[in-house]
Symmetry: C2
Subunit: 143 residues, 2 copies
DNA sequence: AAATAAGATGCAACAATGTTGCAACAATAC
DNA sequence: GTATTGTTGCAACATTGTTGCATCTTATTT
């Protein structure tokens, strides 16, 4: 578990530039505590009085993915979401309030991935697992 | 495991209409043996000499999802994919040739879902799990 | 502190995916 | 065959994501 400043320092150490937008995008993704879509990032940057172009956000996300700082996931709608890569985790997506919460499983699927290699000769590199359902507060509202 | 004709019969029995496009979309999704994106469905329908509008395909997919005939999945790119709902399964997505193969796991994640309910009070209704990696033939090519 | 080089940015234009309203049409029931 | 209601195509639009290029910034060098 790292913090935003450490990551920002590493980017610098790796010889990459620290631009205003780059720094604030990293902080924004950190503070969000959940994956963000590009349009959400734009809105949040605007909240810091940082006007950035759509294009820049997309390009910066690609850069942050190449640096293995940010990862890409899907949450059931037609958008792409991005989040800071920390501990390996999955997501609970509430169908009611659309909230997203990270969850760490005991079972990391290594057994399944090993079986897949034996049976199918398919070498798993990564996986994505999202759970869809209802969070506690939405469950109560429906009861 | 059902076949296309059974599904088509059930739609009829449920009081829904059997239109040319509806019937061919079901057959197309069946024969594909893998999830299809809307634009791919359009192309395949054209192969049967069936000209359909984008709009119609989107609306028909929504209908088939409401009927629980078709399910929606993500495969790592920015498109939405649809497939006939049969046995519960997951997908192996090859990063090399982009091929997609269905796989049935021994572990159906019920244990994990039960633990999630206990720990997080989050009631899981469904999940989506995709594995990304390299298929046998792409592995050999890189070796 | 100014000059430089390379990377980052904004803008315009475009491409693809997906949605909505509405008029015309087709599948079924009668 | 006619009526009813679901289905379809079309036009227009909204959103997401990409590309080329001129301009500006960051960080280094002098």
């Amino acid at each position: 578990m790292t913090d935003a400043d450490t990551i920002i320092g590493n980017i610098r150490a790796d010889g990459h530039r620290l631009t205003r937008i780059r720094v604030f995008m990293i902080r924004t993704l950190f503070e969000a505590q959940r994956p963000l879509a590009p349009s959400e990032i734009l809105t949040r940057l605007a909240g810091f009085d940082i006007r950035a172009d759509r294009t820049t956000v997309y390009r910066e996300l690609r850069f942050l993915m190449e640096q293995n700082i940010v990862g890409h996931i899907k949450l059931g709608d037609h958008r792409n979401y991005y989040e800071i890569l920390t501990e390996h985790h999955h997501h609970l997506v509430c169908k009611g309030c659309k909230n997203v919460k990270a969850v760490v499983l005991d079972n990391h699927l290594e057994d399944e991935e090993r079986k897949i290699y034996k049976k199918e000769k398919f070498k798993v590199i990564s996986h994505s697992l999202e759970f869809y359902g209802l969070c506690d507060s939405c469950l109560r509202k429906r009861a």
